[in-house]
Symmetry: D2
Subunit: 154 residues, 4 copies
């Protein structure tokens, strides 16, 4: 399945908005999280930061997506900005665009995510190659990244 495009209302840690279309040919890791989700803070988000540190020079683009689907008033962009600062996150992070109807933001709905954290890996051809909800094992995730990076660009 082709990865749907991102719908982002505000970006952090990037000089310009990011689109998956522009990243075609690279391997992309989407890390969907909420700043008040304990499993994200303890596992998913540090794991995304490690992936960014390990593989950014090998062609992996790690992109955070703040998919707020609960406690909306508690996790505004103002709070997210302080969170990014305090946790020293350096990969690009987008705020998933709120929907006009309902609590689920647009990108989260497009990818049919079940919650946070969610890790999605997209191959060089733009196809979704992994869609994982919850705590991911570092070694298993590394193996998928290694496999995708080894594939030739289409």
């Amino acid at each position: 399945m082709q990865a749907p495009e991102l719908a982002v209302s505000r970006w952090f840690n990037t000089p310009a908005p990011i689109t998956l279309a522009a990243l075609r040919g690279r391997v992309v890791m989407l890390h969907a999280f909420q700043m008040l989700c304990p499993g994200c803070v303890a596992h998913g988000t540090p794991q995304a930061q490690r992936a960014h540190a390990l593989f950014r020079d090998s062609g992996l683009a790690v992109i955070g997506l703040h998919t707020v689907f609960e406690h909306h008033a508690a996790m505004t962009p103002v709070s997210l900005e302080a969170f990014i600062h305090e946790y020293r996150l350096t990969f690009p992070i987008g705020v998933d665009q709120p929907a006009e109807n309902g609590p689920i933001p647009i990108t989260m709905a497009r990818y049919q995510m079940r919650g946070t954290p969610t890790a999605i890996l997209i191959g060089r051809d733009g196809g979704i190659r992994h869609h994982g909800f919850g705590q991911e094992d570092d070694m298993a995730l590394g193996a998928i990244i290694g496999t995708l990076l080894a594939e030739p660009a289409p």
Copy 2:
């Protein structure tokens, strides 16, 4: 040194406001934290929750104090309430009262805290017996609690 009274603008996890005066005769552990302080979320706050679970039936009163001294707009009571819910914190938590001048809230200033997390232990006589900044060792903290609980009420 006698423990100064708390100045709290809003309480969570308690049916009524708490004062140190009313707790005289019990051992009190004050856990000062900020919801976006990584060292609090990873160590200090879970440690306070463990102390609450271990010793509440032995006479220890664990009290959280949300001492916001930076990123004020990011850590409002609305955000704190979601944080308490998501992290399943069950001990009483007060919002340290903002000062009229400057970023340091009132109780934090009274205790001359250096930052978050700070753990303060108060004996049955109301005296400050431990004042620690940063990551505290579980076993060392347990020994102080055990010593204070073993003291007779004044």
Copy 3:
């Protein structure tokens, strides 16, 4: 219950044999372990080393006891000596004296231990005050140590 005397066939990390009788008036922590017991290596033995580091100047005597009750040929004193060296253990450690009949060594039988690791705390009066099998919580153990150290010598 009074703590039975130790039966030790060989000592490490002490210039002279140790008896509980000679330690009367001090608080004693017995850490019974086997060098090939995973729960000892991962939790119990590092915890005993931490207790030794934290409280030896406060009057706690931490004593290790190598209570081999299985794989006897695999855990001889020669192997234990290398284990103590590699894991940088600095508290006194005695080899529990093998029984003439059966696999359970003498001190282990006297204390009716159920396995390893076992943590036993002995008060200043020589009485057993805690007898725990398996993984012990650092904070709970610290509280017991703090309570016992706060008691006056008999």
Copy 4:
């Protein structure tokens, strides 16, 4: 560089001796360890067990190598057998053949290992593709494994 053949004096967890020659065409992970090496017990050996569990059905052969170069009397095959049993290790483990002269066993010398733990990854063509000493990051190791597994057999 082609991976030198193993020299093993005794095998555990395998019905028949293993040679790298017979594994040609598969990806091989050699985990060199000593049962009394703390960094092996805490990190390297559990990591090898995880790699075995994750990738054995994908074509990775994890092989342990007990490369005793110190405390020889303390780490005999009798002790190793109990260690394997107690730590529930299920991948094949060979005892690196002692040298006639000097403390370094034969396979360890052939691979010019610097100590334990050492992780070596061998591609399907029998070439050494990774040679790491000390604690290896799970995600980085996973990426190498994923890359090698993605390569076609020669």
